[in-house]
Amino acid sequence: RHENPKAVPATPPYNLSEYFKQFLFPQNECELHNFRLSFSQLKWDRWIIAPHRYSPQYCKGDCPRVVGHRYGSPVHTMVQNIIYEKLDSSVPKPSCVPAEYSPLSVLTIEPDGSIVYKEYEDMIATKCTCR
């Protein structure tokens, strides 16, 4: 490395899987990102007894032009890309959005002092898609 620094690759070789990954997957493509909050941040912990923390996650990234089965996107997604590129660029490109969710159980105190345990649908994003 000292004789000819130019010949050395930019990333250190010891993290090979990460190194090769940049060639397999395009950068910044649509994927699920972790996000964790605690209800005390929102000052809701006075009436939300459980859970203390909640990980809703979120989807972020670019949608490739040709959306293959990898995203489970409907054919309409490709059609929307064609509209955007060939016909009317005011039509937005497909967006990276959640495709699947998992539920969340919440224990809360009601205004009248009663206590409710409820299972809410679609509270945690578990998978992303382009559409």
Binding site: L42, K43, W44, R46, W47, I48, I49, A50, P51, R53, Y54, S55, V97, P98, Y101, S102, P103, L104, S105, V106, L107, T108, I109, E110, P111, D112, G113, S114, I115, V116, Y117, K118, E119, Y120, E121, D122, I124
Partner: protein, 302 residues
């Protein structure tokens, strides 16, 4: 959620808190009957609608529940959900909502002529306004907590005299009708000091007809010992220092609620098996309470 937006053309199924609803345009408002009981949604909407200033913290103070009731519900939460707060997927329960109510008023009086060992009779009034029209009752339980002085693993025999008073304002002849029942139960007091008395058959008709004020008179007397083993029934046991709470196991059929059997059906590739009926006869605890032989027979039949 995306799929609901497509279906009913409203921009989103968010509930407006009572005081903020009036400012929203009618499109955003849910029917009143549907709005109550979605404890999570009003503050979500408030945070979103109060852009820029944080006055959503100044919410009206809430009545604090009894600490024992809170402890009971925390235990129920741990049994029903994982550490991350996700409902446990072991199909053991059919309910997706459990509500615990403490009586809002109590009249203590003594019925001299009821039982000699009578120590405690209470008149209970439960206000069930928070139960919405889409929350269907699966099971209701009166929850008694023993005070700590009762030695664990002691044998106790209790007699319970329960009557539900139904105020029928439309009828002149007998405005107040009561259904009553007397029964006795015998059990060993374990580490957990709770007794659940199933009152489903009592409350089902009232809740199904949208009665939200439930008036009960309960006489619950316990004696140490077991009459069947001819032990002398000794001194009375001071069963509860607080009046019993009322626990409702409900199946919420609204879109916001998690429908367990729905997601199970998605996960299972094999043809769907006949859908389980959600009637009171179905144990809301799922198959956890059934003995294994019955479970085996069911699987064999299947």
């Amino acid at each position: 959620s995306p799929h609901s937006r497509g279906r009913d053309k409203t921009p989103g199924l968010l509930e407006a808190p009572e005081d903020a609803a009036s400012e929203l345009n009618p499109l955003w408002r849910l029917p009143k009957g549907v709005r109550r009981g979605y404890a999570l949604l009003p503050p979500l909407l408030k945070v979103l609608s109060d852009r820029g200033h944080q006055n959503w913290e100044s919410e009206a103070p809430r009545l604090q529940p009894d600490s024992r009731a809170l402890r009971y519900m925390k235990r129920l939460y741990k049994m029903s959900a994982t550490k991350e707060g996700i409902p446990k997927a072991n199909k053991s329960h059919l309910y997706n909502t459990v509500r615990l109510f403490t009586p809002c008023s109590e009249c203590k009086h003594r019925h001299r002529d009821l039982m000699k060992a009578d120590v405690h009779s209470v008149d209970l009034l439960f206000n069930l306004d928070r139960v919405t029209a889409l929350e269907h009752l699966l099971k209701s339980v009166l929850l008694y907590s023993f005070d700590t002085s009762v030695p664990t693993s002691s044998s106790i025999t209790c007699t319970c005299h329960l009557s539900v008073k139904e105020h029928d304002f439309s009828s002149q002849v007998c405005p107040s009708v009561s259904h009553s029942i007397a029964f006795s139960l015998h059990f060993e007091v374990r580490k957990r000091k709770w007794v659940e008395i199933d009152v489903t058959s009592f409350l089902q008709p009232l809740i199904a007809t949208n009665r939200r004020n439930i008036h009960m008179a309960v006489n619950f007397t316990c004696l140490m010992g077991d009459p069947q083993h001819n032990t002398e029934l000794e001194n009375t046991v001071n069963t509860a220092t607080v009046p019993p709470s009322l626990l409702l196991y409900l199946n919420d059929t609204s879109e916001q609620a998690y429908h367990r059997w729905n997601s199970l059906r998605h996960r299972r590739k094999s043809p769907a098996r006949p859908r389980q009926r959600n009637g009171p006869g179905v144990d809301p605890m799922g198959d956890k309470g059934k003995d294994t032989s019955q479970g085996k027979r069911a699987s064999r039949r299947r």
